[in-house]
């Protein structure tokens, strides 16, 4: 099991360490520095030196590493590391070198409580907050704290809310890859259902959505749904549930039953690939190359969702080579400008009605350079947007039944599809976290979409680039000139509606 947990800064100095088993010394930090931080290669997250093994993750400017000398369960360790980060963030707001130093007393306390002799115990912020109290220690005994802390019950006793409310948030993230001919090359929806539970007592909940396998088992429910006009069903590739869901029951007849913990949590995560993912936008790029240093771009973008829906905050990122000097842009809707630091033309459209389309044209001037360099990584066109009342997967919440055996209240339930920009773990919004395109040859695609235009890319590809420019690029990408393919992220926002 875990021998020690270390917080190290970017220089490899220990900011804080907790040794659980006494079989490693502080000196292991030296190995971490020389073998992991200094080395510039693959950066494997699991590394073995001698008989000590490091498993680490990175959180802003902090390396959070577990050291072990046994054949530890890696999945367990990484899950625990990430979960600990969540705990720290929920206590401190964020996790970086400064917060570690600022809260070292509390951190020691949390590390002591969450992991014992290297074995993870209870790493759930809500539970921990009932007995690890920031700054105001209480010796007075709380009756059920310990039962709670051993995971025997997910709810503390005696919860009472004047209004019993339950909020259901559905957040979907769709990545989509479309070729120049508008055929879907790959599509994936990663969604989650988040609950905010404000219910008294010990409620038992049953959650239902238009899951095909569930409705096949429950004809009555299916008939009810059909009467309300909800006929579409969907078959998810995979579902994962929160600890509280009774997995045995789900395995038996696909009923999602649970006793929710108090507060906010993610009830389920699901995944859907390929089959029925709906494409909200159609993008048609055309590139016309005039000389080695000048080319024209025309990007057409059309919404395929119904008129009643309004997409907001649409951002189209059209990458250009890093040696682009300036771009003369013309667009009918939204605002667009060339942003050299992004190496892209950023086109922002605040409101995008369904079934409309807009076009942007740009003349791009390139600097003539002679310095040999690596070829341009050619990222795909990226879109970010928010679409309310629209789901890529077609998931609909059908019901959420709440039963409380003692108080017999009727809970108010709300469904909303909330907006969250796709973010990396470090909290920066990603425009770039995109699926790579599959069929890239720019020649073929542009000739299919605009037969008149000359093949756009070969010269561009050979364009020598300044090597320095590449250092500023993020992790370089798949090779695809942005002509033929694009990737999308979409999230949904639906106004709160009673369920």
């Amino acid at each position: 099991m875990i021998s020690a947990l270390l917080f190290l800064n970017e220089k490899g100095d220990i900011i804080l360490a907790r040794n659980y088993r006494g079989d490693v010394s502080r000196a292991v930090a030296e190995a971490f520095r020389t073998q992991i931080i200094v080395k510039k290669d693959t950066k494997m997250p699991v590394a073995n030196f001698g008989s000590a093994t490091f498993l680490y993750i990175r959180e802003q400017n902090v390396f959070f590493a577990a050291v072990t000398r046994t054949n530890v369960n890696c999945a367990l360790v990484f899950e625990a590391l990430y979960r600990l980060c969540d705990v720290f963030k929920s206590y401190f707001g964020s996790l970086d070198e400064a917060t570690v130093r600022n809260n070292f007393v509390l951190l020691y306390e949390l590390l002591d409580e969450t992991i014992d002799f290297g074995y993870p115990q209870m790493i759930t912020p809500d539970v921990l907050k009932t007995y690890i109290l920031q700054g105001k220690p209480e010796l007075e005994k709380k009756r059920d704290v310990t039962v709670h802390a051993t995971g025997a019950s997910t709810r503390p006793e005696g919860i009472l809310y004047p209004r019993n409310q339950l909020f259901i948030d559905v957040i979907e993230q769709v990545s989509l890859l479309v070729s120049g001919k508008n055929t879907v090359l790959s599509a994936e929806v990663n969604g989650q259902v988040q609950l905010k539970v404000m219910l008294s007592g010990d409620p038992e909940c049953i959650f239902g959505f238009n899951d095909k396998l569930f409705l096949d088992n429950h004809r009555q429910v299916a008939a009810d749904a059909a009467r309300k006009g909800k006929r579409d069903t969907l078959e998810l590739d995979d579902v994962r549930f929160h600890q509280c869901v009774k997995l045995g029951r789900f395995g038996a007849d696909r009923t999602i039953a649970f006793v929710p913990p108090d507060g906010e949590f993610t009830l389920m995560r699901y995944r859907l690939t390929d089959k029925v993912v709906r494409t909200p936008f159609r993008v048609v790029p055309v590139v016309i190359e005039h000389t080695r240093t000048r080319f024209d771009v025309r990007v057409g973008i059309g919404a395929t969702f119904p008129e009643s829906i309004l997409a907001t905050q649409v951002v189209v990122k059209i990458p250009v080579p890093p040696n682009a000097a300036r771009a003369k842009i013309n667009c009918i809707a939204g605002s667009a400008r060339y942003e050299p630091e992004q190496h892209a033309i950023m086109w922002r459209i605040r409101n995008f009605a369904g079934r409309t389309s807009f076009t942007l044209t740009a003349q791009v001037q390139l600097l003539a350079t002679v310095v040999e360099g690596k070829p341009w990584s050619k990222p795909p066109i990226a879109l970010q947007f928010i679409i309310p009342m629209y789901t890529g997967s077609g998931l609909e919440v059908l019901f959420m039944n709440v039963t409380e055996s003692k108080m017999h209240y009727v809970a108010e339930r709300f469904v909303r599809y909330i907006t969250r920009a796709a973010t990396t773990r470090s909290g920066t919004p990603t425009l770039r976290a995109l699926c790579p395109p599959l069929v890239p040859p720019p020649r073929a695609s542009s000739s299919s979409s605009a037969p008149a235009s000359p093949p756009p890319c070969p010269l561009l590809l050979r364009e020598p680039l300044l090597p320095r420019a590449h250092l500023t690029l993020p992790q370089p990408a798949r090779s695809c000139f942005w002509g033929p393919a694009f990737s999308l992220f979409l999230s949904f926002l639906v106004g709160r509606t009673p369920c």
Binding site: L81, Y108, V239, L434
Partner: protein, 935 residues
């Protein structure tokens, strides 16, 4: 709460004194601040242990935060102040009886962390109370307290009966108490592999399955991992367990999912109904795929495990290849892993898609990834005959269009492999390759190109000119691998197209034999020279002998290793794809495993592969046999290269094979695999005969930490009757390590003396090479033995010195079975008589739970000079009697090995050894146990 960072503020002189004053002040806030400052100092690594007694004085307080801080201090410094730590015992014991369960648990937890014997003694009573505490929180803490105590003083735990108490707690009402008990018991079992401390039986199984649903996610993992050690009685029971485990696959925690998959895979082995097997396989696929959207580190762990799963159950993810396509934002290590899995899954129906992806990857920017992608194209071509055309097209395209030199070079290396697999099919592209001659600068690509040129010299107009201009001119500047390749290629060319090329051959042979100081090159040059001057026909037969076909391995892990790794899924072993003992040196585990017998079986195989080659050299008529031997050797090298551990060597497979093939001469010159082939051939299990199991050297003799990144792993082996140290030298530093070593042994029990140790070449960073150091036994080098602990007899103190590493001292262990006398034999009656005479008091017995098949075991023992006296069969029990003598002391030992099949279909064995002196019996039994056990 105000920022704590102020406590780190400054470190100045007199600070300690100041802390002391504050700690002893009457103001509680001042005290608390002082102790925070002390903890801050501790955190940054300042030694504040001299404040021990002052801190301890503040232990008795009602302020929980203060108490926790003092406890934290105690955990860190008790070890350095064991006497003073005793002062804390009273307060600890008092706290374990506190009214507040949180305080009781805290005291128990902290006491366990203080690794001072005197404190541990006082822990027994509180721990016993804790295990029976009414509060589950205290119980679950006490359970781990037992684990802590076992770590410090195992005997105490056993004597106090804590293990039985833990077993009782498996039925506790609180799931966390149950799961912690399981974890503790498993840990105790793990450090005592020979004993049955905690074995899950029906009763425990039911308790654990009952607790599984209610447990915390971490607890579920502990329980699932424990259940993986259970052997179901029959198919029904296996299905019953599987049914209970399947719902876990929908858990949000990846660790739970992976452990469930592991357990299900193991249960599948017991199932007999093909429908249920298919059903469970189908259920496992989606959750595994879902792991690919987890955080990158978990994704990586999952991918490494998926790699194992699909080698074990190839059909499982066959249709899912698309999910393994690399994404734009995958970290490099994830991409590399996905590529591996794509190679395992690629089949005719999806090759077009995969190839399109690979072509994409080849235009990316990460050098390592691009190279791997190019290599993958080659692997596709070799794996799928129908796709070879497409793959070759893709490679030619890369060579034509890529402006990146390493892509071109890597492609050439790959094409060489394709030429090996499909001779004379793609000759047309040689012209294109020749266009790139000038840009080649990597030795590997050069060697590949030269091999191609040599092989097809009769299809090229002016091979001699090409060789002359591009390669021969700078012959002396090339690396040894390239030089060898030039030599062979030029000779091949001469044998294929004779006219005009003689001067060139002469020149090269001369350079190789007269001006080179590389012994391998010189030797090979001489061999060729002699061969050519003797008879051209013979030379042709030898040098141009048809090469064995190469095949792409469908799996990258040996089946035995795979069977060993599946039960280890989700652990480090599964991520490294290596058995745990290769990266763990747990002092408690190491006792039986550190002995070197482990590597021994390997050498029989190597010698087995070598022998026919040498045998065939004498009779030139026996052509077929020789070719076969060459094929076997070459095949072995080629296959070995593709093993994961040596992935970096993957490409030179045909080169080394070709060298091995090209080297077989009808002269008894140094025929053993060529130096470049040596690392692969020696370090990798040779599968030529396939009968005997093989292991690599496992004992780390010199760890890289101590020797600036030079690592030496090695075991004593008996190779073809020759005692030697089989070692793998690895360079994990950033500098080149010179090949000359001073290597000496101190006087030791058996009088083992080494010959010289020289690496074939200097070790460049990241490379490894196998060395075999022949050893002798010299009576004069024997250290006197006091007869006390026989294991001291086996220890060999070694010293090694090198210009780079400096001088290092370390210990190796020689296995008794390596120092046996060859040809020992005895008559049956004599054996029986002496065996009886020795009696049971001179007997040492080892129970081995899982050994190799009977014939393999006997083969292994025979190779250790043990003489089989008799064999008898009683029902399903096979008893074999063996006899051996040691070279030193000349003591006889008598072995009785009883093999019995287990219900699980494996073979168990009881080895009893009798000898006088008894120490020899102990050693022989130990070393036989290691030799025969299948881990």
């Amino acid at each position: 709460m105000a920022s704590d960072s102020k406590f780190f503020s400054t470190s100045r002189k007199g600070e300690i004194r100041e802390f002391q004053l504050d700690l002893n002040s009457a103001n509680p806030q001042k005290k608390k601040d002082a102790i925070k400052k002390i903890i801050a100092a501790m955190t940054v690594g300042t030694d504040v242990s001299q404040l021990f007694s002052d801190v301890i004085r503040n232990m008795q307080t009602d302020d929980l935060e203060m108490k926790k801080l003092v406890y934290l201090y105690l955990i860190n410094y008790s070890k350095s102040e064991p006497d003073l730590a005793l002062l804390a015992v009273n307060t600890f014991v008092k706290d374990t009886a506190n009214l507040n369960p949180l305080v009781r648990a805290l005291a128990l937890r902290t006491m366990g962390c203080i690794r001072v014997d005197s404190i541990t003694e006082h822990l027994c009573e509180p721990l016993r109370r804790g295990l029976k505490d009414p509060d589950p929180y205290v119980r679950k803490t006490a359970v781990l307290g037992v684990a802590k105590m076992y770590d410090i003083s195992p005997d105490l735990v056993v004597d106090e009966g804590f293990i039985d108490m833990l077993k009782t707690l498996l039925g506790d009402a609180n799931p966390m108490v149950v799961s912690n008990s399981v974890a503790t018991l498993m840990e105790i079992q793990a450090v005592n592999p020979g004993q049955e401390i905690f074995v899950i039986r029906q009763e425990e199984l039911n308790k654990l399955l009952a607790a599984l649903n209610a447990c915390s996610e971490w607890g579920q993992v502990f329980i699932l991992d424990a259940l993986a050690t259970y052997h179901p009685a029959d198919a029904d029971e296996a299905e019953r367990i599987a049914e209970r485990v399947v719902p876990r696959l929908n858990h949000a925690n990846s660790a739970v999912v992976l452990s469930s998959v592991k357990l299900l895979l193991l249960l599948l082995n017991y199932m007999t109904n093909p429908d249920s097997v298919t059903m469970y396989c189908r259920k496992m696929a989606p959750p595994l795929v879902t792991q690919l959207s987890a955080q990158p580190e978990i994704r990586y762990v999952a991918l490494r495990n998926i790699n194992l799963v699909i080698q074990k159950r190839p059909g499982l993810l066959q249709s899912e290849i698309k999910v393994f396509f690399c994404k734009y934002n995958d970290p490099l290590y994830v991409k590399m892993e996905k590529l591996e899995i794509m190679m395992l899954l690629v089949e005719d129906p999806n090759i077009a898609q995969v190839l399109a992806e690979l072509k994409e990857y080849a235009t990316e920017v990460d050098v390592e990834f691009v190279r791997k992608a190019v290599r993958a194209i080659g692997r596709c071509a070799i794996k799928l005959d129908n796709a070879a055309d497409q793959c070759v097209d893709a490679l030619v395209n890369l060579i034509d269009n890529s402006q990146v030199n390493y892509v071109v070079q890597e492609s050439i290396v790959v094409i060489r492999d394709i030429f090996r697999k499909y001779p004379h099919k793609y000759e047309g592209i040689i012209v294109k390759l020749c266009d790139k001659l000038e840009s080649l600068d990597e030795p590997e690509a050069k060697a590949a190109m030269i091999w191609i040129l040599g092989e097809y010299s009769d299809r090229i107009e002016n091979p001699d000119q090409i060789f002359e201009t591009y390669f021969v001119e700078n012959f002396h500047d090339e690396t040894p691998a390239v030089q060898l390749q030039i030599l062979t290629a030029v000779v091949k060319m001469f044998l294929k197209v004779q006219h005009d090329t003689q001067p060139l051959v002469h020149k090269v042979l001369k350079m190789a034999t007269q001006k080179s100081d590389n012994p391998d090159l010189r030797d090979r040059g001489f061999v060729y020279w002699r061969l050519l001057s003797a008879s051209l026909d013979t030379a042709r037969e030898v040098v141009l002998a048809p090469r064995p076909p190469i095949t792409a391995p469908t799996t990258t892990i040996a089946p035995e290793l795979l069977d060993e790794l599946i039960p280890q899924m989700a652990t480090l072993a599964s991520v490294f794809h290596r058995p745990p003992e290769t990266f763990i040196t747990n002092a408690k585990l190491a006792v039986p495993k550190a002995q070197p017998g482990m590597a021994a079986p390997q050498m029989e195989l190597t010698s087995g592969a070598d022998e026919p080659i040498e045998g065939a050299t004498s009779g030139s008529g026996d052509d077929a046999a020789r070719r076969e031997a060459v094929a076997a050797a070459a095949q072995a090298v080629a296959e070995g290269d593709l093993l994961p551990g040596l992935a970096s060597l993957a490409a030179p497979a045909p080169a080394t094979a070709a060298q091995a093939a090209g080297l077989v001469m009808p002269t008894p010159a140094p025929v053993a695999p060529a130096p470049v082939a040596a690392p692969a051939a020696a370090a990798v299990p040779v599968t030529a005969e396939g009968a005997l199991p093989e292991r690599r050297p496992t004992t780390v003799l010199l760890a890289q930490r101590t020797a600036k990144g030079f690592q030496l792993t090695g075991d004593f082996v008996l190779r073809g009757g020759v005692l030697g140290l089989d070692m793998l030298a690895e360079n994990l530093s950033t500098e080149v390590i010179p090949p000359e070593f001073e290597f000496q042994f101190n006087k030791n029990g058996f009088g083992v003396v080494p010959s010289t140790m020289t690496l074939p070449t200097a070790l460049t960073p990241g490379k490894s090479v196998s060395v075999f150091v022949r050893c002798d036994l010299q009576p004069g080098h024997q250290a006197p033995w006091d007869g006390a602990d026989p294991r001291t007899l086996c220890t060999v103190p070694m010293a090694l010195s090198n210009a780079f590493t400096g001088v290092h001292f370390f210990n190796g262990t020689v296995s008794l079975l390596c120092v046996t006398t060859p040809g020992a034999s005895i008559e049956r009656p004599a054996f029986a008589e002496r065996f009886q005479a020795l009696g049971e008091q001179a007997e040492q017995t080892r129970i081995l739970e899982r050994v190799y098949p009977l014939e393999t075991c006997l083969g292994l023992l025979k190779a250790r000079n043990l003489f089989e006296v008799a064999r008898k069969r009683v029902e399903d029990l096979v008893i074999v009697y063996l006899y051996g003598t040691t070279r030193v002391f000349e003591s006889e030992f008598f072995v009785e090995a009883a093999f019995r099949p287990t219900p699980a279909g494996t073979l168990a064995c009881k080895v009893s050894v009798r000898s006088k002196p008894e120490g020899i019996a102990t050693l022989a039994a130990d070393s036989a146990a290691i030799l025969l056990s299948m881990q």
